[in-house]
């Protein structure tokens, strides 16, 4: 079916990437302007360009809006419990080392409740590609403060604004030994897709933090009521610096309008992934 009901547009009902989507589940449950959809999109594009049979790709998520990613991609996909996407994926990756296992989950899932698995999977250099969708809050449960929430950000559990110091995720990933570390935003789709492709082709623990708008839960109380507002902020404030040397410079303060946000591919080293030695 391809019914151009309006003269100046071709209305269709199938997207070229649909074979890699569970298209019958679209439109997905994510909010208008939510960046997670773009991440799903980027991931399936990367699969298409990876040169690896989709049957050899596996996607694992935890719980959260970001964690819904696994449910929309048409590869073997698993939606583990909150925080356990990484060890679940580890089980798959170590039992079937010929599979390309990608974990897509949220900042809360991977670095709050799942933080321990994160540091240990990286330390061991398990052959996993990890996309951490950082929307600065727990979107799914209504926007509570999380470990990446900026100082001062308001939330239902921080009515006076968050006073905790957020993680600098690439710094952390580097300190625990990840083989590949990058940060992008969903606005940087092309570079982000390149990073995902690099992770797919690279052995060992690869990590990309992707900043994504959550207009509903994070945005509303923090002056980004629409996804586009946060996108505009990224357009204005992001600087690309590949291979940055001082990881602590990667601190983000999105509440401060003058704060530059550094994105880029920061680390890409060979360490010998887990099990290689055997």
């Amino acid at each position: 079916m391809s019914i151009p009901v309006e003269a100046n547009i071709s209305l269709v009902d199938k997207h070229p990437a649909d074979d890699l989507l569970r298209a019958d589940r679209f439109p997905h449950i994510l909010c208008p302007g939510c960046g997670i959809g773009t991440v799903i999109h980027t991931y399936v594009r990367a699969i298409m360009e990876s040169g690896v049979d989709p049957d050899r790709h596996v996607c694992v998520s935890g719980i959260g809006c970001s964690g819904r990613a696994a449910g929309y991609v048409n590869v073997d996909s698993y939606h583990a419990t909150h925080g356990r996407a990484l060890p679940f994926a580890l089980g798959i990756a170590l039992h079937k080392p010929d599979l390309v296992v990608t974990v897509i989950s949220g900042d809360g899932d991977l670095t709050a409740i799942g933080g321990n698995h994160f540091i240990h999977a990286a330390r061991r250099n398990i052959n996993l590609n990890v996309i951490c969708i950082n929307n600065f809050n727990y979107g799914m449960t209504g926007g509570q403060t999380g470990p990446t929430s900026p100082k001062g950000a308001r939330s239902p559990t921080a009515p006076d604004g968050n006073q905790d110091h957020p993680f600098i995720l690439p710094h952390l990933a580097h300190a625990i030994g990840a083989s590949f570390v990058s940060r992008w935003t969903v606005l940087h789709v092309r570079q982000f897709q390149e990073a995902v492709l690099r992770m797919m082709e690279k052995d060992g623990f690869c990590f990309t933090e992707v900043l994504a708008p959550c207009p509903t839960s994070f945005g509303r109380p923090n002056n980004f009521a629409q996804g586009l507002h946060e996108m505009e902020m990224y357009r204005d404030r992001c600087h690309i610096e590949n291979g940055v040397s001082r990881m602590s410079d990667l601190q983000i303060d999105i509440m401060d309008p003058d704060w530059p946000i550094i994105v880029g591919n920061f680390v890409d080293v060979e360490r010998g992934s887990y099990g290689e030695h055997a």
Binding site: Y78, A80, P87, F88, G91, H95, P97, L99
Partner: protein, 391 residues
């Protein structure tokens, strides 16, 4: 491109056939190997550590994967993931670690991914007496995760049974797609006895029921059960593009927010075990035919009970032992039958817990139940059992 993991050639056999003198923990590890164990993930904890230690050496040597995880939360998640990829997978722990696994035991139940969890019970609660015996995780094994679900649990009473029942556990897990527990206790885990491991070809490993359709166009329904309530399973990498979630899901595996679907799904999860109890149940009956006094005991405690039966018989008393080898499902029908036989006057339940097993018996009969309990660290002796019944 991803490099393939170069598997080591297997220099030692999977089956160490023949008679060995072995502790229960090691026999358990060997039982898992005999059952085709592919993947072990664990975190050390007394008194189960020897299971892991033995497998750290034996499993890679037969081409399997041993991973020592950062904690028990990771261990259980990893073996569920490995199971999703088709592995026969195992973890071993004790009470505190078992408690930490509770959330993901529910995930395995909900995703219907077969796993085996060994819990070598120690004196509890909390850190308790790490090196001493307990049997008080029995009800936790049944009810420890939130919600309703079905599980199977074996209680070996000797190193030989640690081997045998761990082997069984894998078959049962794959047959019913439920989490299966081997509830050992520190005494059977640490005691060494003769263990006879069969020659190759004797033990039969059950193969998981796979899809009856080729991968490809037709979407595969991961959760469409056969008449036996168990759906066929497709694994990661087999081309079926499955989706599995701990959320309530439809037959395709997709999340759905619907109370009716939930009720049907969870009822099936429970019924898978309930309706096959006959096939799953394993008990030992010792001198039960003409018994008026039935001892019911599990694990190491049943050794005292068996001895008490011998002693009582030597005194001309009509005692017998009913020993659940599967504590879950519980041999309820058999207990009811005995209670209704007209012959049986009383039940005697010795246990290393403050009455967990007794509750099960009480639920099934109004007959007197003499409960001989120890909270942990020591097991009731045969003499204590005799004395308790006499007084």
């Amino acid at each position: 491109m991803v490099k393939l993991h170069a598997a080591r050639p297997p220099p030692t056999p999977r089956l160490l056939s023949g008679a060995r003198f072995m502790q229960g923990d090691h026999a358990c590890a060997e039982g898992a190997l005999a059952a085709g164990l592919d993947f072990f993930a664990g975190y050390p904890i007394t008194p189960s550590t020897e299971v892991a230690e033995r497998l750290s050496d034996r499993l890679p040597a037969v081409g399997g994967r041993f991973v020592q995880m950062e904690d028990e939360l990771g261990s259980i998640a990893a073996i569920i993931g490995a199971s999703a990829a088709g592995a026969r997978s195992l973890t071993a722990t004790s009470g505190p670690g078992f408690s930490l696994m509770m959330e993901n035991i529910g995930l395995a139940a909900m995703m219907e991914l077969p796993i085996v969890v060994v819990n070598v019970q120690r004196a509890s609660p909390s850190t308790g007496l790490p090196t001493m015996v307990g049997q008080s995780d029995i009800l936790q094994a049944r009810w420890g995760s939130h919600g309703d679900y079905g599980v199977i649990a074996y209680c070996p009473d000797s190193p030989q049974e640690c081997f045998d029942l761990t082997f069984e556990a894998f078959n049962a897990a794959d047959r019913y797609r439920v989490p299966v527990f081997v509830l050992m206790d520190e005494v059977v885990g640490h005691m060494a006895e003769r263990v006879v491991i069969p020659e190759p070809g004797i033990l039969s490993i059950r193969v998981r029921k796979g899809p009856r359709q080729p991968p490809g166009k037709e979407p595969f329904l991961s959760y469409a059960p056969d008449d036996d309530l168990v759906p066929p399973i497709a694994h990661a990498g087999e081309g079926y593009k499955v989706h599995m979630t701990g959320l309530t899901h439809d037959e395709r595996g997709y999340p759905i927010t619907d109370a009716g679907v939930h009720h049907k799904l969870v009822t099936r999860l429970v019924d898978k075990v309930r309706k096959h109890a006959d096939q799953i149940l394993m008990t030992e009956e010792f001198m039960l035919d003409d018994a008026d006094t039935v001892l019911l005991a599990i694990g190491c405690t049943s050794r005292s009970a068996r001895h008490a039966v011998r002693m009582a018989r030597a005194q001309g008393r009509h005692w017998g032992l009913l020993r659940p080898k599967t504590v879950w499902p519980f041999p309820s029908d058999r207990v009811r039958e005995l209670a209704a036989s007209g012959r049986v006057r009383q039940f005697v339940v010795p246990e290393i817990s403050l009455g967990q097993l007794r509750r099960e018996v009480e639920r099934l009969t109004r007959m007197p139940v003499i409960n001989i309990t120890h909270a942990g660290g020591a097991m009731p002796t045969p003499e204590q059992i005799l004395e308790a019944v006499e007084s």
